[in-house]
């Protein structure tokens, strides 16, 4: 880990958080290039098996850029996404993966600055977490 840049997978959402990631680019707000996003329909559609698969394949961290209360499919999105995270944390513990490697934060469609801040701090934290 000390010699290699951490790789982070972001599960974003097409209508809400992915536009914020685009806006960060538009505003030339830099973050490490080893951060990749896969946009989904809604953050509460992410499957634990996809997150676990990302860890198994070598991602150092997974970040859920959640819709929060802006979700166009309903306010229950917040609780449902949190439940997925909690369930996945248990699966990670069972596999000996540090739960801190999976994070979630709500990002609105114009939250470019918060996105970059989250990425920088998560990247920095992962650089210190033992592999």
């Amino acid at each position: 880990m000390a010699n290699k840049a951490p790789k982070i997978l972001v599960f974003s959402t097409e209508k809400i958080s992915d536009p914020a990631i685009d806006l960060a680019g538009l505003l030339k707000m830099h973050y490490p290039p080893t951060i990749y996003s896969i946009p989904l329909r809604c953050s509460s559609s992410v499957k634990s098996r996809w997150i676990m698969h990302a860890f198994e394949q070598g991602f150092d961290g997974v970040f859920i850029a959640a819709d929060g209360t802006d979700c166009s499919y309903g306010e229950s999105c917040v609780d449902k996404t949190a439940a997925i995270i909690a369930q996945t944390h248990e699966m990670m513990k069972a596999k000996g993966i540090e739960p801190a490697r999976l994070k979630m934060a709500a990002l609105c469609s114009v939250c470019a600055e918060p996105f970059v801040k989250h990425m920088k701090s998560f990247y920095e934290a992962l650089s210190k977490v033992p592999a």
Partner: protein, 646 residues
């Protein structure tokens, strides 16, 4: 699995290729499994490139394509259409965003950006290789538009939409329509005033049965999505009856004890809490400013037309789309910026416009002093080398030159200095500059390295400036009046932006998807922007953008049907154990339980499914997949992203 995939890597002029080694991305793409052809192109969205892609699809019988370019918010539909035109199912096309999420985000790391672009393309190739053909679905949409802001842009849009057949809700926060244009006097071109433009539009709005105008109204919440928005509007009572007798209203205003600075005149005068309309404001009925009124009741004692029940009313409206036309605030100079706030003869251009409207007779008298010489200082709050406002406000050079011509019509022997950073009276407006020059106005030019200084010598206000046009010679002027030519800024009150989560650009104005290709649409489907809320414009340009947004909105809603992506959940009956978790998780009641091969199983009702995917993670047997987001598609994408050692 596809094995004839075409990959097209875009330079986007230099937006991508200035940072990313596009040819290296293409070379790597060529080696990826299933890729039959990989090309790079200067602009993938150009007609010629679209034709080339379509020909490749036909000639090489491609079974999938990947375009690596800008954000899919911009061109996903463009390339889906290319695929469709060439006979390929549009869902066998996948977009890789290597501009917003690579070249722009990592312009500080060219190698990193290139490696990321390769990974994103590899991931897109994996996704397209697992993609399946799908057909779009349609939903009903209401041909109803809620236009927020009844200035020139909002009223013009409402009229055009109404004439095309849409029902329009025109929602204005103030008790008066007209916005900023109400505040301006004589306009360029000649013969029109702000008042006449606003009055004309207001009368046209009133004539149309299918426009509902709400004044004193604010959009406070929004639910739903394009085609079927539900909005809540808060309406504050005007407090004055429509048929009020003018003389009793005058008396009521007179006795009103609450007095505040009048924002319509930019603080040059005061107004009462019970405020009368200014010339140029419509409807021509007084109104109570609820924020200032103490409900002391003195006005009601002298006029039966007053109703002090100022409670808010909230109504719910349904609309297919929303158009935002909320305008701008003039730049307010900082204290001491070019002497503003230090000397009472330093005012802004909007304040001068109001002085010209308020003053009678042939003289220009400000603070009791007859003005015989004046100096305009340009680009105040615009093109700031150190401040936040880097942009040019576009209207101010023309407006300042035009105001100088109006001043000279009033006071022919006025001495006028234009202290500028280069005059931008573009297009037809150049005739104003010519006329001003013929009038004898004096033009002095400074650069961003040597800003003018405004001070006092004890008797007079002094403007010191190094004039570029006379080899940087230092000049000292003692004008009677200094006018700061202030630019446009985004509205300070951004409640509507917060409610709708409207994206803003670097200039902090609301941002369109693309300035040339999608200039009035936002990233929020069904929410459009027009006028100065999007960026500085003069009245002509404002009307043009308003017409563009009207046409775009109407084209979206005219068929009262909107095509949506066919993203649906699907249950694998073999795996289903009828636990009911999916039904409990679905916000749209899309699950039903049916008998299949003698077994009770969950089934998705496609007319109810919105494709959110909330049902996917709750299924204990992983029996549900979402089209376009299947396990194989997502996991192969993840694998592709981890393949690089970078």
């Amino acid at each position: 699995m596809k094995n004839k995939i075409g990959v097209y890597v875009c330079h986007c002029g230099g937006n991508i290729s200035d940072v990313i080694d596009v040819n290296k991305v293409r070379e790597e793409a060529e080696k990826m499994g299933g890729v039959a052809i990989a090309k790079h192109t200067i602009f993938a969205c150009a007609d010629s490139s679209q034709k080339e892609i379509a020909e490749d699809i036909k000639n090489l019988e491609l079974d999938g394509i990947v375009v690596a370019s800008c954000s899919p918010k911009l061109h996903l539909l463009t390339f889906r259409s290319v695929a469709e035109r060439a006979g390929l199912n549009p869902y066998n096309y996948v977009h890789a965003n290597i501009r917003e999420q690579s070249s722009w985000a990592h312009s500080d790391d060219k190698k990193g950006a290139t490696e990321k672009a390769i990974s994103l393309v590899r991931s897109a190739v994996e996704r397209v290789s697992h993609s399946v053909a799908m057909d779009p679905v349609s939903i009903s949409a209401q041909n109803v538009v809620a236009v927020v802001g009844a200035g020139v842009a909002g009223m013009k849009a409402a009229i055009e939409l109404a004439d095309m057949g849409s029902q329009v809700y025109l929602i204005e926060k103030s008790h008066y329509v007209g916005g900023r244009t109400s505040q301006w006097g004589k306009l360029f071109l000649p013969g029109e005033t702000g008042k006449s433009v606003v009055e004309n539009l207001y009368q046209e709005v009133k004539k149309r049965q299918n426009i509902n105008l709400f004044t004193g109204a604010e959009l406070v919440s929004k639910k739903g999505s394009v085609g079927n928005f539900e909005i809540e509007v808060k309406i504050t009572s005007r407090g004055v009856k429509k048929d009020a007798d003018a003389s009793t209203i005058e008396k009521a205003i007179e006795v009103c004890p609450e007095e505040v600075s009048d924002e319509f005149n930019f603080g040059l005068t005061n107004r009462k809490a019970l405020m009368n309309f200014h010339p140029g404001q419509f409807p021509e009925i007084a109104a109570i400013d609820a924020a200032t009124c103490t409900k002391c009741g003195k006005c009601a004692e002298v006029s039966d037309a007053i109703d002090l029940n100022l409670e808010e009313e909230r109504i719910t409206l349904q609309a297919g789309s929303l158009m935002i036309t909320t305008g701008f605030d003039p730049y307010e100079p900082e204290k001491s910026e070019f002497g503003y706030g230090d000397y009472d003869n330093v005012i802004t251009l909007p304040q001068l416009e109001r002085h010209l409207e308020l003053s009678n007779g042939k003289d220009l008298v400000i603070n009791g002093k007859k003005i015989r010489s004046m100096a305009y200082i340009y680009c105040v709050g615009s093109r700031q080398p150190n401040g936040e406002n880097k942009y040019c406000s576009r209207y101010c050079c023309t407006s300042a030159v035009h105001s100088a011509i109006k001043v000279r019509e009033k006071v022919p022997d006025m001495t006028v200095y234009h202290i500028n950073r280069g005059i931008r009276t573009y297009g037809k407006q150049e005739v104003l500059y010519e006329q001003s020059s013929k009038n004898g106005d004096i033009y002095i030019q400074f650069t961003e390295d040597t800003f003018p200084e405004v001070s006092s010598n004890g008797k007079h206000t002094v403007v010191k400036v190094n004039d570029l046009l006379t080899a940087g010679k230092e000049l000292e002027i003692e004008p009677d009046l200094v006018v700061l030519v202030t630019g446009m800024t985004p509205r300070k009150d951004d409640a509507i932006g917060d409610t709708l989560k409207l994206p803003r650009g670097r200039d902090k104005f609301y941002n369109e998807i693309h300035p040339k290709l999608r200039p009035v649409e936002t990233t929020i489907d069904g929410v459009l922007i027009a006028g100065v809320c999007q960026g500085p414009k003069n009245i002509t340009e404002t009307v043009k953008s308003s017409l563009a947004a009207s046409a775009k909105t109407y084209s979206l809603l005219k068929r009262e049907e909107i095509t949506l992506e066919p993203i649906m959940a699907k249950v694998d009956a073999e795996k289903c154990e009828v636990c009911d978790n999916c039904s409990a998780a679905c916000p749209f009641g899309a699950f039903e339980f049916v008998e299949e091969n003698g077994k009770k199983v969950a089934k998705v009702n496609e007319s109810n499914c919105k494709g959110c995917g909330m049902c996917l993670p709750v299924c204990p047997t992983d029996a549900i997949e979402l089209s376009g987001y299947t396990n194989s598609e997502i996991e192969e994408m993840i694998d592709a992203l981890t393949e690089s050692d970078y």
